[in-house]
């Protein structure tokens, strides 16, 4: 379990992480979602005690990271696939990490096997492809057989096979009852792996909800209609108390009404329909809308319009 309370990180004037409070629970995959630059990596670095919070607190199983004895046996993290010395072999990279946390050498062989790098264990890490580097980073995270695992953008730059492998790995780790916390800037990726979602934008918490609830709340379902008798159809819908929105190029969109009912209504008034289809807004759209709103909101809240803007001087010239 990871608990964040009022976690804040300021770099000078800029607030990178703003008063984050949430809990990451065991047994499920928790997705940590936000656009690039939302503060996900900064938050994760603070969780591992690498960056010091300006305010607030993170606790791993009730303790601060630096109070954990042999931290890799509590929490394993993949922050950055390149966070290793390229001149060191995969085996030695894992061995030095294992030794620092009192983990036996045979465990190094085991995790190399788990991630499928046994054949290249003696090879230098700088010759590795991105996917192999990612696997080596994950092997490091698994070394201490920790109850908590954290992955920062693990599928970035991977081929479909690698992505598939990581998805399954995360799911199986959660199924074993472990806490899995994974960041991404892609909603579509999260929809496939995460059971729970924590969404941040501009360092602020925007949503902390189960995936199912997020889908139910954020994916608008509507009916799309096309008809050569658009005006008549609008009248009929209007008199039936249904609001239709014209979206250009002759299509109408209706919220909150079943397509069956609209079809029957059209048949009753003998209106020809060219299309009558139930639609669902994509989660990606819902996510973008959610974060876009936060960005807009902050832009107004933090920078009053009276303030001189960069480039103002040009207007006068």
């Amino acid at each position: 379990m990871i608990e964040l309370e009022g976690l804040t990180k300021r770099y000078g004037e800029k607030v990178a992480v703003n008063n984050l409070t949430f809990t990451v629970r065991p047994g499920i995959v928790t997705g940590f979602l936000g656009p690039n630059g939302a503060g996900k990596s900064t938050t994760m670095r603070m969780m591992l005690g690498l960056d010091r919070p300006t305010a607030g607190d993170v606790r791993i199983d009730g303790k601060h990271y630096d109070q954990l004895k042999d931290p890799f046996t509590y929490i394993g993290a993949l922050l950055d696939a390149k966070a290793m010395h390229g001149g060191r072999s995969a085996f030695n990279h894992l061995l030095c990490l294992a030794q620092s946390n009192g983990i036996p050498k045979k465990r190094v062989h085991e995790v190399l096997d788990t991630v499928g790098l046994t054949a290249v264990a003696k090879k230098k890490a700088k010759g590795f492809s991105l996917g192999m580097g990612q696997r080596l980073g994950i092997a490091g995270a698994l070394l201490g057989d920790p109850r908590i695992l954290m992955f920062d953008e693990p599928v970035n730059g991977l081929d479909p096979e690698g992505i598939h492998w990581i998805r399954n790995l995360m799911k199986s780790l959660a199924a074993q009852g472990r806490t899995v916390f994974v960041s991404s800037h892609l909603m579509s990726e999260m929809a496939l792996t995460a059971d729970h979602l924590v969404v941040i934008g501009q360092g602020r918490l925007l949503a902390d909800t189960s995936m199912a609830d997020f889908i139910a709340q954020n994916s608008r379902s509507y009916v799309r209609i096309r008809s050569p008798h658009r005006e008549r159809l609008l009248d009929v819908l209007h008199s039936a108390g249904i609001t239709a929105v014209e979206t250009g190029n002759g299509t109408l969109e209706v919220d909150g009404t079943k397509p069956e009912y609209i079809g029957e209504l059209a048949a009753q008034y003998q209106i020809v329909l060219h299309e009558l289809s139930p639609q669902q807004a994509s989660l990606e759209e819902a996510f973008m809308q959610l974060t876009a709103e936060s960005v807009e909101y902050h832009a107004h809240a933090d920078t009053p319009l009276e303030q001189p803007q960069w480039g103002d001087g040009w207007k006068g010239n």
């Binding site: 670095r45 960056d51 004895k69 390149k82 390229g86 620092s100 946390n101």
Partner: protein, 266 residues
Amino acid sequence: MGRRLEGELTMAAIQVVRSEWTKIRSVASTVWTLSLAVVVTIALGMLISALSKNEFDTMNRDDQLSFDPTFISFAGMSLGQLAMIVFGVLVVSNEYSTGMIRTSLAAVPQRGTFLFSKIAVATALSLAVGLATSFVAFFLGQAMLGTHKAQIGDSGVLRAVIGGGLYMTLIVMFSMGVAAMLRSPMLSLGILMPFFFLISNILGNVDATKKIGRYLPDQAGSKIMQVVPPIDDDTPYGPWGGLGIMALWVLAALIGGYVLLKKRDA
């Protein structure tokens, strides 16, 4: 309770020392920097010893009186120490230039334990290499000097030879402290190399700056390798005093490195 905690801390430190030993022995730069230091120090020492032997008869009387065969056999150290500097800098700054530092500090969040285990391992290795180099450089240098050679049993000679090994070790420690402060290998080397190769020598030998220059780490520290002081030498410290001054520089650099590592975000 206190004893148990102490025991745990010792355990943790032993684990980290083992880990740092694996790190240091598993990269190529360790081998090539240290071998370069050994080869350059010994070979250049032999060459200069051989040249000095041939020139002895043409020297003036003062130079002949202050002729220091021990010190001459360490002449290669002025160049060999540069390779030791590279070793010290790379041991620390490799962590930063590769991004490994984040993995390392996640593995060992006690930053003091991390830094000082790393320094302890590199120091022990430098001491072993430094002492071996110093003894070999001495004996081979003396062999080149022929009739002008010093004996290891002569007064002050053994101290100078062991001192040569200590000097090389302190140079590495100082470089590690500076690299821990600056993080970037290029920046650290860009400051340390010209400093030790040029600036310190100039400051230490030009009359106007000599009084300050001789308190610089390498100028003070190399006093330990001297057996016969130059004519009208007015250096206010002896061989061990000089090494002590160098040790203070090392201490300052290491404290600086530790304080910055402790408070910086990784």
